[in-house]
Amino acid sequence: MHELSVCQGMLRQVAAIASEHQASGVESITVRVGPLSGIEPELLAQAFPLASAGTVAEKAALIVESLPVRVRCRSCGAESESTPNRLLCGQCGDYQTQLLSGDEMLLASMELTT
């Protein structure tokens, strides 16, 4: 339910970048979200029309790219796909892993009408 706040924050960034380019509108906004970011792509998509109404991004398409959860093991070095509540090494089962992907909440790119 905090997706609306996230969406509003994102749109302020979008507006700043659009104005930097003297853009008349925003065609599309691409974001990358991982399951460990705490952001639910569907809720973000639902919040978007509400948050964008009356902004430069009003007519923009929101493209949400979901990223997988991946970890690298600090013990055996293996890289493996994982699930949000089980970030153990897929090879040796060790819990001393580093997250490679899965907690992103990135404004990746935008397409502007200039």
Binding site: H2, G9, H21, L36, G38, M105, A108, M110, T114
Partner: protein, 290 residues
Amino acid sequence: MCDTCGCNITPGNKHLVQTDGKLARTQDGKTAVTVLKSLLSENDHQAAHNREHLDRQGVLAINLMSSPGAGKTTLLEATIDALGGDYKFAVIEGDLETENDAERIRARGIPAVQITTGNACHLDAHMVHEALHQLSLDGLDILFIENVGNLVCPASFDLGQHRNVTLLSIPEGDDKPAKYPVIFRAADVLVLTKTDLLPVLNDFDPDKAERHLRALASQVPVLRASARKDTGLDGWLAWLRAERDAHRHRLAQGETLRPAIQPDGSRLHALTEEPAQHGHRHTHHTAKDA
């Protein structure tokens, strides 16, 4: 990030927002812009500012997160009773409504600012910034920020704190870290609260709770506390003392600390901004106007 002064444009990303940079004109005359910054850049910028301000005053800021009723305020009361003679504390309380928690803290002679969020399910860096203006940080050792009781949303927002504490009370069940991985992964320490209830609620297995936490690749300490019974607070109090000393030491070296909430994946894939030094200056209150 602020919208007006352009301070979001850093040497690291400037090339992207200039028309001759990493921007491609598409065939239909549209401009594609690569951004690769956090969706919460604006919040993160404010959080960095808060942290810088706290660091200048030598204050360690600790964010407490848990479900409603896990015992955050009670733990703070017990902490004040135990360490109030040695340390100077202040508290920022977050709830949807009421001053109840701030009043409980003030009743112990500790300054407290209540943030009532209305319907917002979490605190953000801007709310904390406003609250900081109502507090004197002079001579303060530790600022506690008690987040809105919620095991989901608070985990996504950096407030400018140095450490995250996640509480799990015995009545909630030992599988909460498996059910709410984001907030437990963000913890710098997990505190099991209301441990005096363990003999009654014996289906809670503290070792199992720890195993669920380890499955999140977390190596942080798991402490047990019972504030009501005034027993078993030793681990928590020792952790606090050690953190406060370590923070003073870090500041003396010109370093600071960000909590585990900082996303690894984002760090690998995003454009990084220069930390802290963003040259944003404004006047903060002093003790006299607090």
